[in-house]
């Protein structure tokens, strides 16, 4: 189904918001306010935004360390202030300041994130079992980086999800590098989506810089899952503009990543591409573009200001966090 004008503007606005928050998180590292680390996702906005903006509130999502999930979390409704506050170790953070960088909110369908990569696959399958047993049409969207698809947990989960037709959509956010290792060093084929074939799961490769293409691919998979037809796998080809993590050298094996490669991908920036398209279609005007940019900047500046002033958690929360009553 063709998206409405408002829906397209929402996708665009979400991508801008994610970019502004990402830039704010980078600043947080430079200012020494972020207590742990940050893995910028700049350049990859279209994947999470395209996949998650129009999910139901009771659908579940899984995100990865890339951008600490912001391209999925903002579209799902998590306030930017809570994300910044968690990174600043504040009591108002997405996990009460305990986690350093995780976000969890079951009201919004966000169970959390595994610290070990590949740990989320099996948990996503469990939510899929629950969703299927409950029978309310909920789906689980689990988007992980391509390197994570090396984990054995993926095989076990895929077998389970395919066999029981679980309503889970596996997203491969393929930014062509696993840390500083180009994927050609770790994967025998060009497309990770081929992995789905052996399980009889439909798979698709899409341009991860095209938010509409991403949205349409996920929407088809979501509709399928809601109808009880089981899992799908979608690989989005994308590219991260900044280093694997802030503050570490941006390498390709042992040499700096080729500048011409980075520049070529910058020309395919997902926000610019979509902006051009919307301007051409007359859906946005240059004035709208500037307003969206300004509003997103304001949102993140205000969120950062409030998070900075937010209180630190009390030590007593640790003991209470261990066991549920």
């Amino acid at each position: 189904m063709e998206l409405t004008k408002e829906q397209k503007i929402k996708l665009y606005t979400n991508m801008v918001r994610v970019r502004k928050l990402d830039e704010m998180m980078v600043k947080g590292i430079l200012a020494g306010k972020t207590l742990a680390f940050f893995h910028s996702q700049q350049g990859q906005e279209a994947v999470g935004v395209g996949a998650c903006t129009f999910l139901r509130k009771d659908d579940f999502i899984f995100y990865s360390h890339r951008g600490h999930g912001i391209s999925k979390l903002l579209p799902k409704g998590v306030p930017s202030r809570a994300i910044i506050a968690e990174h600043y170790g504040k009591a108002t953070g997405t996990c009460g300041g305990i986690s350093g960088f995780h976000t969890s909110d079951m009201e919004l369908g966000i169970p959390g994130i595994s610290g070990t990569l590949g740990g989320d696959f099996v948990i996503a399958a469990g939510l899929g079992i629950a969703a299927k047993m409950r029978g309310k049409g909920q789906v689980v969207v689990c988007i992980q980086g391509e390197g994570t698809y090396g984990r054995g947990t993926f095989h076990e989960t895929m077998l389970m999800a395919a066999n029981w037709k679980l309503p889970v959509i596996w997203g491969v956010e393929n930014n062509l590098y696993m840390g500083c290792t180009p994927i050609s060093e770790i994967h025998p084929k060009e497309n990770f989506a081929d992995l789905a074939v052996g399980y009889g799961v439909p798979a698709l490769v899409v341009d991860g810089q095209d938010v509409i293409a991403v949205h349409e691919a996920f929407q088809t998979a979501v509709d399928r899952a809601r109808a009880g037809e089981g899992p799908s796998m979608i690989e989005c080809k994308t590219y991260r503009i900044r280093s694997h993590a802030e503050g570490i050298p941006d390498l390709r094996i042992t040499e700096p990543r080729p500048q011409e490669e980075i520049e070529a991908w910058k020309k395919r920036d997902p926000i610019n591409l979509f902006q051009e398209k919307l301007l051409k279609e007359g859906i946005l005007t240059p004035v709208n573009v500037e307003w969206i940019d300004r509003e997103a900047t304001k949102e993140m500046e205000e969120a950062e200001r409030v998070a900075t002033e937010d209180p630190l958690p009390d030590k007593a929360v640790l003991q209470k966090a261990l066991y549920a009553d």
Partner: protein
């Protein structure tokens, strides 16, 4: 009171809780016809939606429980050997144990991991371990090790209703043991130790199959005028250290027995807690009996590694300061009770 086996007690707890609460389901490898006989009738009554057979996929079994629990279900995973749980170490030690904590303590993760444990079956290195020390060591997991049919049923019902991940260890050699179990509904709270046998000369702390070995030794020593108190903590997390300490204050002597490897094990932990709380009440040093710091060999060699009745008797004699050795009967060859296999379903 009626007598039923440990296996039947487990089966009753599962059947009753699955009837009471439709969010409870079982997942694992051939759980529809669990080879140790604890699932009799469950598949027929609850169907494949709630008794879910999987491939050999321990990470997916153990980890999917976390996801289903987060979404409001109460999964029970059955793994026939402790070694299978350790295949899914990330899922049990990180995801199940720590997911709630690291996400701010707002979620409930009600899971029971029912795990078959134990040696004395000649099963060799990877089919004989208990590994409860690893579980007890990990913050965020509760740990129950029932020694009798009564405890198995009452503790399992509590485990299923608990809003946290519980590792529930069932020793293979206890499955056929009979004991009194009331007809009426009951549960046993976690963190409440049980004095399995009252005594005045010495306290022996033990769990699981070690309770049975210790009871047997205690009964033999009674004939020689030695009165042994056998104390079963029943859950190691939470641990009822108060009851252990008050028993030690009474007898002033203690031996701690555990089937897992001694090094960094349960006996060291409980022993140290006793020292911290009741050092001045002890009339003799603490002695520990546990598996030697070796892998568990197969066949007859396992008796040189796993705790034997004579080891328990020797420790008791030493703590009591006896010059003469307290000789007790050695273990006979194990015999599996496989009655249940004659009529599957």
């Amino acid at each position: 009171m009626r007598q039923i086996t440990y296996r039947e007690a487990i089966n009753e707890a599962l059947e009753e809780e699955m009837t009471r609460d439709e969010t409870v389901f079982i997942i694992g490898e051939f759980v529809s016809n669990e080879p140790f006989g604890t699932h009799k009738g469950l598949y027929a009554k609850f169907g494949k939606k709630r008794v879910r057979d999987t491939a050999i996929s321990e990470a997916a079994i153990v980890g999917s429980c976390v996801g289903a629990a987060l979404a409001g279900y109460r999964p029970i995973a059955r793994l026939d050997f402790m070694e299978f749980l350790i295949i899914a170490a990330d899922e049990v030690l990180h995801k199940a144990a720590k997911w709630r904590f690291c996400h701010g303590g707002k979620q409930a993760i009600p899971i029971v991991y029912r795990i078959g444990i134990g040696g004395y079956i000649g099963g060799s290195v990877e089919h004989s371990q208990c590994l409860e020390s690893i579980i007890m060591h990990t913050p965020g997991l509760k740990l129950a090790i029932p020694a009798t049919p009564y405890d198995a049923k009452g503790l399992l019902k509590t485990a299923i209703r608990d809003n946290n991940p519980v590792v529930f260890l069932e020793h293979r050699l206890l499955l056929g043991v009979k004991g009194e179990v009331p007809d009426e509904e009951y549960t046993i709270p976690f963190g409440v130790a049980d004095i399995k046998r009252e005594g005045k000369d010495i306290t022996v702390v033990a769990t699981g199959y070690m309770v049975q070995l210790t009871m047997d030794v205690a009964n033999q020593l009674q004939e020689r005028g030695i009165s042994v108190e056998v104390l079963d903590p029943r859950t190691l997390e939470p641990l009822d250290i108060e009851t252990i300490v008050s028993s030690v204050r009474k007898t002033r002597r203690v031996v701690i027995v555990d089937e897992d490897t001694m090094r960094c094990g349960v006996t060291g932990e409980i022993g140290m807690q006793v020292l911290e709380k009741a050092f001045d009440d002890l009339d003799a040093p603490i002695r520990r009996v546990a598996a030697a710091n070796l892998p568990i060999p197969g066949g007859i060699m396992e008796k040189y590694v796993l705790p034997q009745p004579q080891d328990i008797a020797d420790a008791i004699g030493e703590v009591l300061g006896l010059k003469e050795r307290l000789t007790v009967r050695p273990l006979g060859r194990f015999k599996f009770d496989m009655e249940h296999m004659k009529s599957p379903k």
